[in-house]
Structures are given as structure tokens and as C-alpha cells.
Amino acid sequence: MTDAVPQIVLGTETEFGITVLNQTDFNPVAAASTLVNSYAGQRARIKWSFDEESPGRDARGFGFDLTPSFDMESGLVNVVLGNGARFYVDHAHPEYSSPECADPLEAALYDKAGERVLARAVRNAQQLLPEGQRFVIHKNNSDGKGNSYGAHENYLISRAMPFGQVVEHMTGFFATRQIFTGSGKVGSENGRPEVDFQLTQRADFFEEEVGLETTLKRPIINTRDEPHADPAKYRRLHVIIGDANLSEFQTYLKLGATAAMLEAVEAEAIPESLIMADPVRSVWQVSHDTSLARPIEMENGRTMTALEAQWQYLEWVAKYVSEADNGVIYGDVMRVWEEILADLEQDPMLVADRLDWAAKLRLFKGYRARDGLEWDAPKLRLLDLQYHDVDPDRGLYNRLAAGGRMQRLFSDEQIDGAVRRPPEGTRAYFRGMCVSRFGESLVAANWDSLVFDIGEESLRRVPMMEPLRGGKDRVGELLDRADTPAELLRALGGDND
């Protein structure tokens, strides 16, 4: 038994698709910059300090040259939000990195809040465009032409857990969880076999089992090792094999099942390894199989379907959750995991109100039946894109949800609250509250520090190396009592350099 992290801190990062209709000189970097700068909420436009970041660090223990793509992440346009999130331009996309959350339900809420941030930014940026032009922002992961952009999940795990254990157990889990993590897509890309419709946006782009890359030769297990926390204690598992989901239910299940699985792996509560003969091919195969019935060849010569593998993982993880007595966080996750597997087994169309891929497939089947469309009809491709539009009226997911056709977990008021206020259980609380209250004095921020300029000779840096500290229980009173950033820093005591 390793020295387990008491609770998995988690969050998501989403790169949004961006386009401006009828703009002949459209430049995605300029458009994304305009969008981020237009966002008018609680925010601080500050320098994002890269001092502590090292994306070239590898979880397997060896270093690596920085990829050129990192240089593009210049941090020129960067906003830290009052909810503790980071909103910026990454490559040619607007990206929302959620604040660190203390449980999967909260993380799903703050992921959803990101869509609201983008929609609000669009509303403001729209006024800068000439008549006839329009921003369109999609929470998706592919343009259907071979270009993919990410929706990453982050889980803070113990440094003491051998990384080989993560690879051994999580590879099969990630390949098979696609049956409930996919957002669906018409056709295939990146040279994969032709298919009418598949479960995920991303599977076609995965080409390696383990690796550091995120922009080419994408691996099932990504080894980027930037904990943004005490590196002696923590490792951040950076999961790149997932889709951006619109369904709240689906984001919750994806994050919850994965976090619980990681805890079970860490506690050595997974008794067997489900090792596939060819994991990368299995990732493509599972995504391409809407029947969910095709057997996967396992290394031991046997076969199992993705559903069977997920039933097995659920059984092991649910046993761990009940024995470890952490049902407060994961009890409900186990319930919805079981519910979704049972429904998928009976009839995948039963989950069309909870999983994006099934919601899309139901729509596409409806259109094909009504209008006699072929799978490659432009109208189906348009539906496939517009499902992801963050606009509350145009986005097809948003239409379905507004019409009561998608199960929701959060009210509009809760989501608006999560746009404005940080989660209370992590250091994101301190970051978000400082942005809201003392944003004009913040000169730089990072996941694990804030730098203040309070008019003194030197800048004052507040380190936040423990993600579970800095929550409301620890700093709420200090923040309430301080009227100025100088008072706050005095109350925090000597953490300056």
C-alpha cells in the first residue's frame, strides 16, 4: 500500500474550436486573442509565470527537449478568472483550464462553467466585428479534416505510486471507457478505416501506448509530469485521451469513474491487469464499434468486449470504494457508472439523454430517416459540428438540454455561480478570491503561486504548493478580514521573496 493522497484533486482543460463566419482574412490566433481579451467578468489580465512549469519533464523519470509547440504558448493573452480558472490562447485556440476541484461533481460543474465563459466572451467580442461576421465557438475536438485539439483531464496522484502501475491498469481502462466518454463523430480521420459514425472525436488520433507528446503521435498514457504542486509528494496524471463533453452527466461520470479507478490502482485494489494484445488498435476499434459488441483481443489470447471490461473495472472499483469507506465522494459515481453500463448493454439508444455520442446518433438517425441523407451528407457534418456550439440558442446540445431532452445535473444558477465564484475546497479559492478582490494588485499568477505588487520596492510572492490548502476553511477568514492586499499579505505572514 502506497502513501495515498487523501483525496484526488482534479480539473479539466478544454481547447475550443474557433471560427469567424464570413471573415476572409480569418486568423485563429488573432480571433482567439480578441475573444479572451473581450471577456468581461471577474478577472485579472496578468502575466502567467512559467517559472515553475516544465512540460518537458517526463513522468517516467527522464528529461526531454521542449517541443517547439511550447514556444507558441507565449502567455501573451492570459486571463485569470474570479472562479480560479485560467482563460487564454493556446496555439490557435481559446482554452479554458478549470480551477482545481476537490471532487468529480464539482469538477464537472466548473467544466460546464467554461462553456458559459466562452459564450459570454463571444457576446462581447461579437460587437467588435463588422456587420455580417460572426464568432462561432465549438466545444469539440476535431474539424473532421484531420486536425485535433484537446480536452484534457488532470488528476493529482501520489508520487509514491509507481508509474508502471498506472500504465498497467489505466491503458485498458482508457481504451474501454470510450463507450461512455465519447462525444461522437461522423466518419473517420487520420487514415483510419472508413466508418459511418464512431463513439469518439479523438480515438483516430492516438498512435502510441505511452509517451510525452500531445500534438503528434498522441499516446494513450501521457507522461507529462508537471504536478504544479510539491513534486516530492505529487504527480499530475495528464489524461489526453478523452473528448470534450457537453453532457453534464457524462463529464461527471468520466471524471468520477477515472478518479475512483486511480484511487483503486493506488491502493493496489485492482487484482488483475486487463492487458490488450494491441492497445492502440483497440482504442480505434472500440470507438468505431457502435454495437459495443466486437471482442477485443487480449494479450492472454482470450477476448472481451469493452462493456465486459468496464463491468469488470466497475466491480473492482466499487468493492474498493465500499471497503475504503469513501462513498461520500464515489458512492453516487458507482451508481451512475452501473446505470450507464446496464443501459448500454440493453440498448445504446436508452442513453441518448445522457451521453453525447448517443444523443448525436439519435439525431442523425432521425435526419437520415426523415430526409434520406447519406452519412457523408454536408447536413449531417454540420449537425455534427453544431451540436458543440456553445451559443445557448444555436448549439444543438443546448437546444436538447433546454427542451428537457438531456439529463442535467446543474441548474443555470449553479453554473452562473461557478463562473463567478471559485470552488471552496482547494487553493483555487484563494486564487479566485484574490482575483475578484485584489485583481489590480496581482502581477503574475501560476497554478502554485500568486505575485502581488503592493507598491513596495519588491514584489511579494505567495506560494501555494499544496492544492488542498488555500480553501475557504483555511483562508476564508483572512480574506474576509483584509481590506487591502497589503493587509492580506501581512495576515498570511512572511511568505514573500
Binding site: 481547447e15 474550436g17 474557433i18 471560427t19 463566419l21 485563429p28 509547440s69 493556446d90 496555439h91 490557435a92 485556440h93 482554452e95 462561432v136 476535431s142 474539424d143 473532421g144 479534416k145 486536425n147 485535433s148 485539439y149 484537446g150 484534457h152 500531445t214 500534438t215 498522441r218 489526453i240 472481451m304 465486459e308 463491468w311 469488470q312 466491480e315 446496464a342 448493454e345 440493453q346 440498448d347 439508444m349 436508452l350 441518448a352 439519435r362 439525431l363 438517425k365 432521425g366 435526419y367 426523415r370 454536408p378 447536413k379 457534418r381 454540420l382 449537425l383 459540428l385 453544431q386 440558442d393 444555436r394 444543438l396 437546444r399 436538447l400 427542451g403 431532452r405
Partner: protein
């Protein structure tokens, strides 16, 4: 638990129940079809105008 045991534990208790489930699923299916036509009509009112043009011009740079 072996694969067979697992299958058994998830299998229906009797054929009668299975048949009943099928009828329920069918009814749900019909209800879904009725509702889907309504939603298609609604979606048609918000779909981007020129599907072919929109799809052709939708090119993203890679990211991550």
C-alpha cells in the same frame, strides 16, 4: 468473478421478463421517434444556413 458468472449475474431472470423488457423498450423506441421529429423541426430553425459552405470552411489548426 469469471466472465460467464458475470454474464449470468446480468442476465434476465426469466424469459417472460425479457419479453416484457422488449415490449417496454419498443414502446420507449416509438415514443423517442415521435419526439425526435419535433426536435428535428426545431433544429432546422437554428441550423447554419449553408451546410456545404460551413463544413467546407471549417478548418482548425491542431492544438494541445
Amino acid at each position: 468473478m469469471t466472465e460467464r458468472e458475470r454474464k449470468e449475474s446480468h442476465s434476465r431472470e426469466s424469459e417472460a421478463e425479457e419479453a416484457a423488457d422488449e415490449i417496454v423498450a419498443e414502446e420507449q423506441g416509438e415514443a423517442l421517434t415521435e419526439r425526435i421529429d419535433d426536435i428535428l423541426d426545431e433544429i432546422d430553425t437554428v441550423l447554419e444556413e449553408n451546410a456545404e459552405e460551413f463544413v467546407k470552411n471549417y478548418v482548425q489548426k491542431g492544438g494541445e
